[in-house]
Each structure stands twice: as structure tokens, then as C-alpha cells.
């Protein structure tokens, strides 16, 4: 049994899970189960939102450890499901290392992604329907959709520049709120608040928050608290971005808006 390869493989799978937005306990349990399935009893895993440490002791008594640092990442449920399926498969059938590595390597190629224009459409629809949902009119929804598009373009551009999440959220909030104010000044939209809130929903840290709660319940208090703090920070960033936009608009146009 080649324990180096087993260690690399299990770390890789854990990394993939964490990168696609899995909870901490899922990452730790998955790695541990793979190690158990391949006959080890001494696997230790420690993961926090931006780092994974896996350590094992081979039957000959040699200790092996790997650490992988996690950069900021998004959410990719399709990739998450693929890695989860692979983990299940490995634990049940324990194929040879060669086959397992081949399967793990092929995952990135099997991942399905929506084309960019579908994503843009989703940004538009999401913001538009949340505007309607919060009580806007049909014209408001149109404005909300446009604001959603502006957020999409802003996020894509800033992601290319590798800006951090906080700044991206501030910028997205500011751009969409400014656009909402502008559209209502032209007379297209009526309720600036509904339009802005509808578009803001695209920036809300939903995954971070729910995952934080599930982590806390699973006993990973440290990761849970880190993520809760992150969610609160992003909430503050949203408020800051839209706040700056509103304040600027009032400075320029006076009491009109």
C-alpha cells in the first residue's frame, strides 16, 4: 500500500470539497472515511475555512502529514456533488490507487458549467424577481434586473483583478444602488428601496451563514465563528456600499432622492 499516494488523494478530495463550498465537518469526515476505508486507523484531519491538515501514521510507524492552504473561493454545488460521489465510491468499493487517482483527476473535466450569458440571465432574473417579491412593480423589476446585471459585470471584472470579497461586495452594492437611483431619476423605476433590495440579494452571504450554523452544531465552533464573522462583515459591506452610493447621490442632487 502506498500511503503517500493515499494521503495526497484524500487531501485532494478534501480540498475539492472545501473549495466548492462544503461544510467543515463534511470535509473532515470524508477524508477520515477514505483513510479508514483503505485500512488505516490513525488518520487525523483538521480543517478550518482556509486550511486543511491531514496526518497519518503508516503501519510501519512512519508519520506522514500534508497541509493545503485554501485561497478565497466561490460556491460550486455541481463540483461538490461530484466530489461527494467520488468519496462515497472510494469508501464502498476501495478501487486501486491508480483507478482512484484517475477518477479524481477526471472530476474537473466532468464538471458542468453554465455559459456566461446564462449566468448573466440568472443575475437579471434573480434581481428582477426579488424586486417583485419585495413589492415592486413590473417596471421596478426591470430596473432591478438591470441593477443585477451591473452587479454581475462588476463582480466579474473585480474577480479578474483578484480583489477580496469585502471590496467586491462594497463595489457591487455601490454600483447597483447608484444605477437604481439613476433609473428612478429618469422615471423608469418608482421604488428605489425595492429595486436596491432586490439587487442586493445577489450579494447576500447565504451560503456562509447557513454553513456557519451547521459547523457550530457539528462541534467546529472555531470555523463556525470565523464564518459568522465573515457573514457579518459582508453584511456590513453591503450596507457600506449602498450607503456610500445614497450619500453621494444626495450630495450631488440634493433632496430629490
Amino acid at each position: 500500500m502506498e500511503y503517500d499516494r493515499l494521503l495526497n488523494l484524500s487531501t485532494e478530495i478534501g480540498y475539492g470539497l472545501l473549495e466548492s463550498g462544503a461544510e467543515i465537518y463534511r470535509v473532515e469526515e470524508s477524508i477520515q472515511r477514505i483513510l479508514l476505508a483503505y485500512g488505516l486507523t490513525t488518520g487525523e484531519v483538521f480543517a478550518i475555512p482556509n486550511c486543511i491538515t491531514v496526518s497519518l501514521v503508516t503501519p510501519e510507524g512512519k508519520a506522514l502529514t500534508r497541509v493545503r492552504r485554501m485561497p478565497t473561493h466561490g460556491t460550486d454545488i455541481d463540483l461538490l456533488e461530484l466530489y461527494n460521489d467520488l468519496c462515497r465510491h472510494l469508501c464502498v468499493e476501495t478501487p486501486s490507487m491508480d483507478e482512484a487517482e484517475a477518477r479524481c483527476g477526471a472530476i474537473r473535466g466532468r464538471r458542468r458549467a453554465y455559459p456566461f450569458w446564462v449566468e448573466l440571465g440568472a443575475y437579471f432574473l434573480g434581481a428582477a424577481f426579488f424586486t417583485l417579491f419585495f413589492g415592486g412593480t413590473v417596471l421596478d423589476a426591470l430596473c432591478g434586473g438591470l441593477c443585477g446585471l451591473s452587479i454581475a459585470l462588476c463582480l466579474t471584472f473585480l474577480t479578474r483583478l483578484r480583489t477580496n470579497l469585502f471590496f467586491k461586495t462594497v463595489a457591487g452594492g455601490a454600483v447597483s444602488a447608484l444605477l437604481a437611483l439613476g433609473l428612478s431619476l429618469i422615471g423608469l423605476g418608482k421604488n428605489v428601496d425595492f429595486i436596491t433590495i432586490g439587487a442586493l440579494m445577489l450579494l447576500v452571504p447565504g451560503l456562509i451563514f447557513t454553513n456557519a450554523m451547521r459547523d457550530i452544531m457539528a462541534g467546529d465552533t472555531m470555523s463556525g465563528i470565523t464564518k459568522t464573522a465573515e457573514a457579518l462583515l459582508i453584511g456590513a459591506a453591503i450596507a457600506l456600499g449602498t450607503g456610500v452610493a445614497l450619500w453621494l447621490a444626495r450630495l450631488i442632487w440634493g433632496g430629490v432622492v
Binding site: G21, A22, E23, R26, T75, D76, I77, D78, L79, L80, E81, N84, D85, R88, R112, A113, Y114, V118, E119, G121, A122, Y123, F124, L125, G126, F129, F130, L132, F133, F134, D193, T196, I197, L200, M201, L202, V204, G206, L207, F209, T210, N211, M213, R214, I216, M217, A218, G235, I238, A239, L240, T242, G243, L246, W247, R250
Partner: protein
């Protein structure tokens, strides 16, 4: 007609919005199940309105429902619960609270600002407690099931 406007339309809106969010999180299989979770969750929220008269309690009950729904669906489809939970929760997220709190802050209305801010945190907290409760019950059930499994294997 009233019931249509009051119950059906918001749920329909949240359904479509949830479909859009599924695309943003790259969910391919089971989009409709996720979006249905969002719509049903909001329906529960609306139905609880006349009983509780408080959106914090309403959010709590809706959060309980959505978590239970997501855990069940994840069990049936044998895939991580993350995606379902994530998308179905969006209609409940207090995005409006963040905005109005900010607006009051800019207008210099400190009292209103604190009021709205605390209320928003309250809603977020009740959502959190809802998720916590259901996911800990599910963990209990899981462990109980595993134990029974182990015991049965040992008896053989």
C-alpha cells in the same frame, strides 16, 4: 383573487428567483426541487403570519420547515444538503433589513437605525436557530441509525 395575490404571487416570485440562484451556484440536477423549497418555505412563512403576528417567529418556523425539507430531499437524492438549504433560504434572508438600517443611519435617525438593526439581527438569529435545531436532530437520527446498524451486524 385576494388569496391569489396574497399567497400565490409571492411564492411564484420566490420560485423563479430561486431558479436563478440555482444557476448562480452552478446547480444542475434538482433545480426544481431547490426552487420548490424556496416557494414552500415562503408559503409557510405567510401562513404563520396570522397566528404569530411576528416576523421573527414566522422566520423561525419557515426555517424549521425549509431545513427539514432540504434534509429529506438530500436523503432521497443521496447528495449533500448544502445546495438545497442554501437556495431555499434566500427568500427569508433579511436583505431589506440591511438596507433600511443603512438608510436610517444615513438620515441620522439613530433610534430607528438601532431598532431596525436589532430586528434584522433577530431575524438572522431565528433563522440560525431553526437550521441548528433541525440539523442537530438529523445528526441524532444518523447516529442512532448507525448504532442500530452496528449492533445488528454484531448480532450476526
Amino acid at each position: 383573487m385576494d388569496a391569489f395575490l396574497q399567497y400565490f404571487l409571492p411564492c411564484f416570485y420566490s420560485f423563479v428567483a430561486c431558479i436563478a440562484f440555482c444557476v448562480l451556484f452552478n446547480i444542475h440536477t434538482g433545480i426544481l426541487i431547490c426552487a420548490l423549497g424556496g416557494a414552500l418555505g415562503w408559503l409557510v412563512y405567510l401562513f404563520c403570519g396570522p397566528v404569530f403576528q411576528s416576523d421573527i417567529l414566522q422566520s423561525f418556523v419557515a426555517a424549521l420547515f425549509i431545513s427539514a425539507y432540504s434534509e429529506t430531499m438530500a436523503r432521497i437524492r443521496k447528495c449533500p444538503v448544502t445546495g438545497y438549504l442554501l437556495v431555499a433560504f434566500f427568500p427569508l434572508v433579511p436583505g431589506g433589513g440591511i438596507y433600511y438600517a443603512m438608510e436610517h443611519a444615513i438620515n441620522g435617525e439613530t433610534e430607528l437605525f438601532l431598532d431596525v438593526l436589532l430586528h434584522t439581527l433577530g431575524v438572522a438569529g431565528s433563522l440560525a436557530v431553526g437550521v441548528l435545531l433541525v440539523s442537530s436532530v438529523v445528526r441524532l437520527l444518523n447516529i442512532a441509525q448507525r448504532r442500530r446498524h452496528v449492533r445488528r451486524n454484531a448480532a450476526r
